[in-house]
Symmetry: C2
Subunit: 379 residues, 2 copies
């Protein structure tokens, strides 16, 4: 019913779009003309900067995957969400080059299919990819929490065809459960080795199932295994393994490790930082700005390491400022302090504010300067 409504909405917007045709060619590469048929389909693409994918729009709209956000349990930690998607795009780049392929959110897996797959296997749900509940003595956890599909297409003009697909499997590192309804909550830790074993098993089953769809027979299928964090984690999970089933193959023959780590600074308790020099430069920055300004309630950083190397540092400074000149003056101080203490050759974001919810910024600072674009969290 929901899906039917979505289709209706899409049709409605296609109609409303044709009423303002001058916008259609605006800033998008409009690659096709509609022909006079009942099924009009136009494709446009949006450029993406900094080595990202061009995104395919359909009938003038960004297309959302119907399975986005479906989860097996209700224990989802939202800090995982962004990295689950971003990480799979990064993995895909090694398989589907950004110059030959365009991106679209997954359109082949439906809500009902994925809901069945995420549920436990049962006589009434033969396609369930999570194990049956088990016995009183032996509880079987939910291993698979979430499935993400990304489509990579080739083509131009009015003709695009699927050239490859990536599937992300979010594997729980902790499963939370109750023995009786409304009873106390128990938790079952899932080792990396179990995440790996179950993840690879599930991956092979998914590849076999996808091969039954005609459109998916002769394309490469890439599957990434993502380790979700616990409910209380401050840092999001990371991918730890990926592999590709070549076109027409029903199996992933070789898996490659993904070496990625994230951490939040300052560390909690006696936890050791991944890199002590990065931790100490952050600490100097933090102390300097906290000593010179009142009303700074927190300075934290999220660092991402790839293959042991710092790849991105995002700092959040939480303030209770209200004055215009105070913000101006503090920002300049933070800038010069950052130049002095923080690593000079790493993408860096310093977000100054009271809450975490601006996602992107485009600005022209002065009348003569060019636009600058910033995506929160880095690219």
């Amino acid at each position: 019913m929901k899906k039917f409504f979505r289709v209706l909405l899409l049709l409605a917007s296609a109609v409303s779009l044709s009423a303002c045709g001058n916008l259609k060619n605006s800033s998008l590469a409009n690659n096709s003309k509609t022909t006079s048929s009942t099924k009009t389909k136009t494709y446009q693409t949006t450029e993406t900067g900094n080595g990202g994918y061009t995104v395919l729009l359909k009938d003038g709209h960004y297309v959302i995957s119907p399975i986005a956000g479906l989860t097996a349990t209700t224990n989802d930690n939202s800090v995982d969400t962004r990295e689950f998607e971003r990480g799979l795009i990064q993995i895909s780049k090694s398989q589907y080059s950004t110059s030959s392929y365009v991106f679209q959110e997954g359109q082949y897996l439906s809500t009902s299919t994925v809901n069945d797959w995420l549920a436990r296997k049962a006589p009434s749900n033969k396609t369930g990819l999570n194990p049956a509940l088990g016995s009183k003595k032996q509880y079987n956890p939910y291993y698979l929490e979430e499935i993400l599909e990304q489509d990579y297409l080739t083509g131009s003009g009015s003709s695009y065809r699927l050239g490859g697909m990536s599937i992300g499997l979010a594997m729980n590192s902790v499963d939370y459960y109750q023995k009786v309804k409304d009873g106390p909550e128990y938790q079952e830790d899932i080792s990396r080795s179990d995440q790996k074993d179950y993840g690879q098993q599930i991956a092979d089953q998914i590849v076999a199932r996808l091969r039954k769809q005609k459109d998916l027979r002769d394309i490469p299928l890439t599957i990434g295994l993502f380790s979700k964090t616990s409910k209380d984690s401050l840092v999001g999970g990371t991918y730890f393994l990926y592999g590709t089933a070549a076109a027409n193959s029903s199996k992933i023959t070789s898996w490659k490790p993904v070496s990625q780590q994230t951490e939040v600074l300052p560390t909690v308790g006696n936890a050791k930082a991944i890199n002590s020099s990065d931790a100490s430069s952050f600490n100097s920055f933090k102390e300097a700005i906290q000593n010179y300004f009142p009303n700074i309630s927190g300075v934290t950083a999220t660092l991402r390491y790839e293959n042991g190397k710092l790849a991105q540092e995002n700092i959040a400074v939480t303030t209770q400022f209200y004055g215009y000149e105070q913000v101006q003056s503090f920002t300049r101080l933070a800038l010069s302090t950052a130049k002095k203490y923080l690593p000079s050759s790493v993408p860096l974001e310093i977000k100054i504010g009271s809450v975490n919810n601006v996602q992107a910024l485009i600005a022209k600072e002065t009348a003569d300067s060019d636009y600058q674009v910033h995506i929160y969290g880095g690219e």
Copy 2:
């Protein structure tokens, strides 16, 4: 009592600062050494970019004015706050050049003095600058809502002296009142001409009072008259008049108009935009991005005009995005759409997000790029 506590806090932080002396010289121009006396005072300054003032720090801290935020009534509209401060700094620049003077939030007017000044004149409050309540037939509104002090200092090293002062007077354009306690609310509109007459009267009284303080006898005193908005306004108020009493003079002899206007687009009802071409370019931008993306719940712009010319355009795009690639892709679309439709020679901010509370951003977009700084709302 509150102030005593503040002083204690300042002393405490001066002590804690001396324990980490290596930070003191960090990114600040530390102009003096403390000498061994009970009263240690060190000054530092922070650079400010884009033609702003250098800010004087005292004992390593940004100094806040004790009268910031005091109001005569409880009907304050917070959209006025930023412009009340920013506008007075702009006015001050014509009087106190940014190359010779440094900025400090006002330190000469105390909380108790200003509370008395903002209250109604009464036998028990002879210094009240708002009129007595009046009779049943003739209600006298609160004309003066808020007072802002800014100090402009000259000097270097350990010696700074006050070189000029600016005072902002926020004059109500509407006063809200009740005839009986908990009764219905009435409102009294105050014409621009009344704002001007009362504002100028009050300004002269304030100049005369300030001249009685020894430090304030022989410096120029600049007073700006600010018109506050109604409680429901979406745009902040603006300054409409300013004048300076020369050193040793007890009167402002010539007042100069400030021609500034602000508006929010799209306009409400049949209201006419200040400049139809700016309104139409914004509208094209808005339609283009709303047609191509779902989940955009609002696109609004705040435009500021100075002497009839567009000086700043700030656009807020409210989204319900969650996906990584959706934000990336939308931001690129917004960028190219902005380049196509929006004015090319005006400082511009496009804030994309779900709420309005990040105040500033510093970012290095890639490993090789320089830092870029953005202050929300423009400079």
